[in-house]
Subunit: 341 residues, 2 copies
DNA sequence: GTGAAAGCGCTAACAT
DNA sequence: ATGTTAGCGCTTTCAC
């Protein structure tokens, strides 16, 4: 019961390998009788052409590599889902890698993908990469003519197709919404201060304050990392003076903020309003349900995959200019914010 | 800036391809001077051996295929995370596929993986596959000597290594816990009635009732599918008579049950206790926090990947008997159940 | 120390 | 209608 090859089949029927190949592929050059015999035998023996050989021959393997920073984050899972869907519809498989926000792991993975492993690559940068602004590995990919699409966390240092969220607007809109519901002192809590996405949201927040004649206060900004204790940071924040709204820059942050506030007997949204990011199940089922910015993860994934596949198909013809698609967010009003005035 | 090959390098230095190959691989057969020159040039030109060629040569590509039924389910994401971790530590990459609970998609994916695409395969069966008990595609994989490990949703029809959760015990233990906290009328709600996992949990539930001298009531069993409206089903259930505990067979079911109950002004756990499955963020952050059965998803992933890699390494030597590892669950007591009497 | 040749499994252009 | 040859990119004997 060993893996059977064309050679075996050819030997069995005492024909040449190419005859066997043609017979199996239903070539009209081969006599019906022989074709039938060979095909029957091939089927019986569960013959399958060796993919590795085909890949080498075609210089393509209908596979795309995806690198996401964190698979335990619902947004990225949604994107992955969208990518897989479109890839699958187009006959591609995905090899998915997790950078775990590490520059090293991301670079190594890119180097691996940059050796004929895949037809194209999709990446959302690790936070460390965005912080260091080191994108050599991407240059290699591009240099080797491997189609690349960046999504969500992108870099201006890399020229390629991109799909991003309108994070600036999202930051602006949610801040404006707080203002419109009567909140004055708006804090912002971010675990992704170094990422493009985090910065954009922050800038949108600042601009909204400015446009409303509210002065920006440094002490209302809480940037934290895994090492930090959010409880402590929150206690500090709430002791600085009254805070009546908090913008959490990702889903889990907003949920944890809600939890902490509740445990300290703040009423949400009466005392403090909260808006989070990523429309996941978490935001939906928590009490009170969180008002969130939906980034349409699945849609982003679909768009990204489509763009990559388009690029793969146009590979030879490099007339196709790079595109950056911006996906608008939606603010889903739920119960963690007050009603409009 | 085209992809550079050994041939190009050989031509550039006017040496043979094999010399170039040896030089780049640091063979002692080659003079230091030449080695240095060639290696330097290779580096400059960003030369990387073509993976497809190597794969064909080595009949291995250090890649493992993973098929999960549903990537939007936190349990499977956790498993995936564990698999990726171990695979990565051992120099393997994973190509991940989603069956979406469809028999067809699963079979097609298996057929694809069964053609030299991967060194081994990890699968958790789609519900449809478990229901139909059709496992031909797995037989093909096995027939072609491709190492296979099944996890969580497994089939007795397939002889291979398996990693499963002690779902029977989990069903038993959680039911017993309800009983021990004074609940008498215990309902069970399952979206996975056709899966091995669902059946096992159900059997554990029944056995616990039996051992406690409580008669099993058919009308306390709610099996539903995506098409069904859980709200309606719940209304039906609650109108049958008093129900003081509900066992939800997956995370989202338990959470939705909680939501529905709260909206109908039942108090949890005073009126109705709830236990769910899968220790995800959802169960943790919902109010009240759900008592859940933790299946240790990440650990299962790690175990599965380790077993597969072991199998891949032992491929030649088929003395290695198949193993089924059973992972015990833990009941995490939180606030959706009453205190022990 | 360097090169020629074979071969991984397959396909396709080119004979016969 | 069938076979021969070459080649995808690489490594690895085995000659020289």
């Amino acid at each position: 019961m060993k893996k059977i090859t064309l050679k075996d089949i050819a030997a069995y029927f005492d024909v040449s390998i190419s005859t066997a190949s043609k017979a199996i592929n239903g070539s009209h050059e081969i006599s019906e009788a022989l074709k039938e015999k060979i095909q029957k035998y091939a089927k019986e023996m569960h013959y399958k052409p060796n993919r590795m050989a085909l890949n080498l021959l075609n210089k393509s393997n209908r596979t795309i590599g995806v690198i996401v920073p964190n698979i335990l984050n619902y947004f990225f899972v949604q994107v992955l889902y969208g990518i897989e869907k479109v890839a699958n519809e187009n006959g591609y498989n995905i090899i998915s890698c997790i950078s775990n926000e590490s520059f090293d792991k991301e670079s190594k993975t890119l180097a691996f993908l940059d050796s004929g492993t895949v037809d194209g690559v999709i990446v959302s940068l690790s936070e460390e990469t965005q912080e260091k602004r080191k994108v050599a590995a991407f240059m290699d990919i591009l240099g080797n003519q491997i189609p690349l699409v960046l999504f969500d966390r992108v870099s201006d240092l890399v020229s390629c197709d991109k799909v991003v969220v309108d994070d600036y607007e999202a930051g602006y809109t949610s801040t404006q919404y707080f203002l419109d519901t009567g909140c004055k002192t708006i804090a912002i809590i971010s675990p992704i201060a170094h990422s493009s996405v985090g910065k954009l949201r922050f800038n949108g927040y600042k601009k909204a304050l400015e446009d409303n004649g509210i002065s920006f206060q440094e002490n209302l900004v809480v940037n934290y990392s895994k090492k930090d204790d959010l409880d402590v940071l929150m206690a500090l924040l709430m002791n600085c003076g009254p805070v009546d709204a908090i913008l959490g820059l990702d889903e889990i942050t907003a949920v944890r903020v809600l939890q902490i506030l509740k445990s300290k007997n703040y009423r949400v949204p009466e005392d403090v309003s909260i808006i989070g990011f990523t429309n996941g199940q978490l935001s939906k089922y928590v009490t009170p349900a969180l008002t969130t910015v939906s980034q349409h993860g699945k849609y982003i994934g679909e768009l990204t995959a489509k763009q990559l596949i388009k690029r793969i198909k146009h590979k030879s013809n490099d007339e196709l200019p790079f595109e950056t698609k911006v996906v608008k967010t939606s603010l889903l009003i739920r119960d963690s914010t007050k009603k409009l005035l």
